[in-house]
């Protein structure tokens, strides 16, 4: 009956001609379609979010009720916490390098695979396979086998006469093994790029070819512009996820951020504060700071997106 109501509402069937009923008719479809989200947002999401905000001003050890401490957590964060600074450095470095590289691989391979070559489904599945391993405990073991001093990478380097360090346990290089792990799992943005490429109507390419445009020109003039909404999406999402990245560092460093905090991702640090050291209040403050950081970045991205993202509406 909700459907019929929406139909009636948007067809402007006379249910009264007052301002209110007209306003309802105009806005009703939007609200009705959003109804599940509203229920979810107000019922399940907003409560815990507000609670976590409140907790960020308290001392909460999980086992006893929270105690109000005002802005102490935030003050400590900025003035007296070595690990906070370290984890910020590590996280920014990770975001800076893993996101562009991952997107580049994802887009490049997607374009390559979109040609419709022989064996396409197989390749597509193969490239997506690493992403299926996700948070598996096995990944940590695998990565060690590859990047330890006697691992595969050094075996390959030895062929060229280079003696590599123990990548995964050297504080100067350990973060790179995690960056590589993130890039290795580029399957998800690749699939999204593929879906975006698939949505570009073929007849546009046909028309362009008939006009004599080269493949490269077609790519630059047709593909890229029409793909910008998807590029925008992937860039934002991958950046947000990179800032929040937890599982790779958790399983590879055993939750320690070792060696010497070189893999202490911000959310790993937050998690330890909350669950290992019973400082959930402080962890909440850390989380909210991250949210503000990400929100600023996202807002900036949205504001500047009008200059390069090309929607069809």
């Amino acid at each position: 009956m909700a459907v019929r109501g929406m139909e009636a509402a948007s067809q402007g069937v006379a249910t009264g001609n007052s301002i209110w009923s007209r306003a309802w008719q105009n806005h009703a479809p939007g609200y009705l379609f959003l109804l599940p989200w509203f229920i979810g947002f107000f019922g399940l999401t907003v409560g815990p979010i507000i609670t976590s905000f409140y907790l960020s001003f308290t001392d909460f050890d999980l086992l006893t009720p929270a105690e109000w401490v005002g802005v102490d957590n935030y003050v400590r964060m900025f003035t007296n916490d070595r690990s906070f600074a370290a984890s910020m450095r590590v996280t920014f470095f990770f975001v800076l390098f893993s996101v562009p590289l991952k997107l580049a691989f994802a887009l490049g391979v997607a374009v390559l695979l979109n040609r419709g070559m022989k064996g396409l489904p197989l390749y597509r599945a193969l490239f997506y396979l690493p992403s299926l391993l996700g948070a598996s405990v096995a990944i940590a073991i695998l990565w060690r086998q590859i990047f330890a001093a006697d691992g595969l990478v050094n075996d390959v380097l030895a062929i060229f006469g280079i003696q590599g360090p123990s990548w995964i346990s050297n504080p100067n290089y350990s973060l790179w093994t995690l960056i590589i792990l993130s890039i290795w799992q580029f399957g998800s943005p690749m699939i999204i790029f593929l879906a975006g490429l698939r949505q570009i109507p073929q007849d546009m390419y046909e028309a362009a070819s008939l006009d004599g445009a080269s493949k490269w020109r077609q790519f630059v003039k047709i593909t890229l512009p029409l793909l910008t909404p998807v590029v925008f999406f992937n860039a934002i999402i991958q950046t947000i996820e990179a800032f929040k990245s937890f599982t790779p560092a958790f399983i590879i460093s055993g939750g320690t951020g070792a060696p010497i905090n070189s893999t202490l991702f911000y959310t790993l640090y937050l998690y330890n504060e909350a669950f290992s050291f019973f400082r959930m209040g402080y962890a909440s403050a850390l989380a909210w700071f991250l949210l503000v950081l990400i929100a600023c970045f996202t807002a900036f991205s949205f504001l500047t997106s009008k200059y390069w993202v090309h929607y069809d509406d």
Binding site: L63, A149, D150
Partner: protein, 430 residues
């Protein structure tokens, strides 16, 4: 479009499924069964379930058990306590018992001693180990002691004699020299780097007459002590007696990445009850020995530590019933046989006698080791303060890595350790 038609059917089917599942909701705690949570692997779960079967078979109420790996256990337990849904019987660790006890997440058991908890032949020091502020909060499930895991096969290969319990840090250096010269297995060292090992530090400082943490919860070692500690390991590392920085950093805590498992060192600091674990993933023959003495004849570093406890949740509805289950686990000889020494050496003398003939080789070695520590045994330390875990993982280990990689001098590390540890202790105490 055919897909649309299928989708509708699919939608209807799955809504029905969801409704069915929702209708089948049956919260576990609606029944009268006790709930138990513990960490461990399938091996421990098998044993525990065996004991539960015995318990239920003797006419007692049912017990529902849940187990997780160590890493997952603590966040889940903390969540359950925070949400008020903690199970009745909780497996507890020495490291956290103070945190949970002082916050009433686990209940004092003194009232139940005597009628429900029969502890007459229970080892006194193990009983003490479960006390916080004088009250009993956890029943020790077994004692273990720190022990040096030794790869006998590697020693034979290098032609070096396996040390016995009289060995000292000097002997360690000789062994290190020996392995360096022998150069087996791609440069296997005598031992792993122990500078970041809290148990080794504890053992070492106790032999010098100081505890790691005083009964008042303050730091025991002085700056000079810590500088000497880091310097000692620096010398051994520079001389090639122990594993270098990069190699040591491969160890993230799991048995399969220990220096012995990776064939990088012939000895690593460990615990008596972990011989079985390390042996299971290593084709060589392993055994255990004591930690080294600081000089010949000096003892007192070791102590018999409760490996883990069973505690009763503060929120448990029937604490007596929970305690009755715990009592069964630690006093019933049949239960003792099922549990073996997997959680440590049983603390009841009667149970120990009952199970001795049934143990396998590694368990026998562990049992004998703990029983024969002799002058190496010192008094049980007071319970560690709240922040001890943090000092271990985020200070000592990180510092030891910094020193090993050359980022800090031993002098600097010693000073910083004391400074920062005291700051952490202060923060936790407030």
């Amino acid at each position: 479009m055919t897909l649309r038609f299928d989708r509708r059917q699919f939608l209807m089917g799955s809504s029905a499924l969801a409704a069915a599942i929702a209708a089948g909701v049956n919260p576990a705690w609606a029944q009268n069964a006790l709930r138990l949570i513990f960490w461990g692997g399938q091996a421990r779960a098998d044993r525990t379930n065996g004991v539960i079967d015995l318990f239920e078979g003797a006419g007692n109420p049912g017990v529902e058990s849940e187990f997780l790996s160590w890493n997952d256990y603590w966040p889940k337990l903390a969540t359950q306590v925070a949400g008020g849904t903690a199970p009745d019987v909780i497996q507890m660790d020495y490291r956290f018992i103070v945190e949970y006890a002082t916050r009433n997440a686990i209940a004092p058991l003194d009232d139940l001693v005597g009628d429900v908890l029969k502890l007459d032949d229970f080892d006194a020091d193990q009983l003490e180990g479960g006390k916080v502020d004088g009250k009993l909060y956890g029943i020790s499930l077994g004692a273990n002691s720190v022990a040096m895991l030794v790869n006998k096969t590697a020693f034979e290969e290098a032609g070096i004699a396996v040390p016995d319990m009289s060995w000292t840090y000097e002997t360690l250096k000789e062994i290190g020299e020996g392995f360096k010269a022998a150069n087996i297995r791609g440069g296997m060292r005598g031992m792993s780097d122990g500078s970041g090992s809290e148990p080794m530090l504890d053992n070492w400082i106790r032999q010098r007459g100081k505890p790691l943490y005083t009964p008042e919860g303050k730091l025991g070692p002085s700056v000079e002590d810590m500088v000497e500690w880091f310097t000692m390991w620096n010398e051994m590392r520079d001389a090639g007696y122990i594993t270098d920085a990069e190699t040591t950093a491969l160890d993230t805590g799991a048995p399969e990445v220990s220096m012995v498992a990776l064939n990088k060192a012939a000895m690593i600091p460990s615990n008596s009850n972990q011989l079985v674990i390390h042996q299971s993933i290593n084709p060589d023959v392993l055994t255990i020995n004591s930690y080294p003495r600081i000089a010949p004849g000096v003892g007192g570093g070791h102590y018999r530590k409760p490996s883990m406890f069973f505690s009763v949740a503060g929120s448990s509805a029937d604490k007596a019933a929970a305690a009755a289950f715990i009592n069964f686990c630690i006093t019933d000889p049949e239960a003792g046989k099922v549990l073996g020494v997997e959680r440590g050496i049983p603390c009841s003398a009667a149970v120990r006698d009952a199970i001795a003939p049934t143990l396998d080789e590694q368990s026998q070695i562990a049992l004998n080791f703990v029983a024969n520590l002799g002058d190496l045994l010192g008094p049980l330390p007071s319970s560690p303060p709240n922040a001890a875990g943090e000092i271990d993982t985020s200070l000592l280990r990180v510092l030891s890595q910094e020193v090993a990689f050359g980022g800090r001098s031993a002098q600097d590390a010693g000073e910083f350790f004391v400074f920062e540890a005291e700051a952490i202790l202060d923060r936790a105490a407030s």
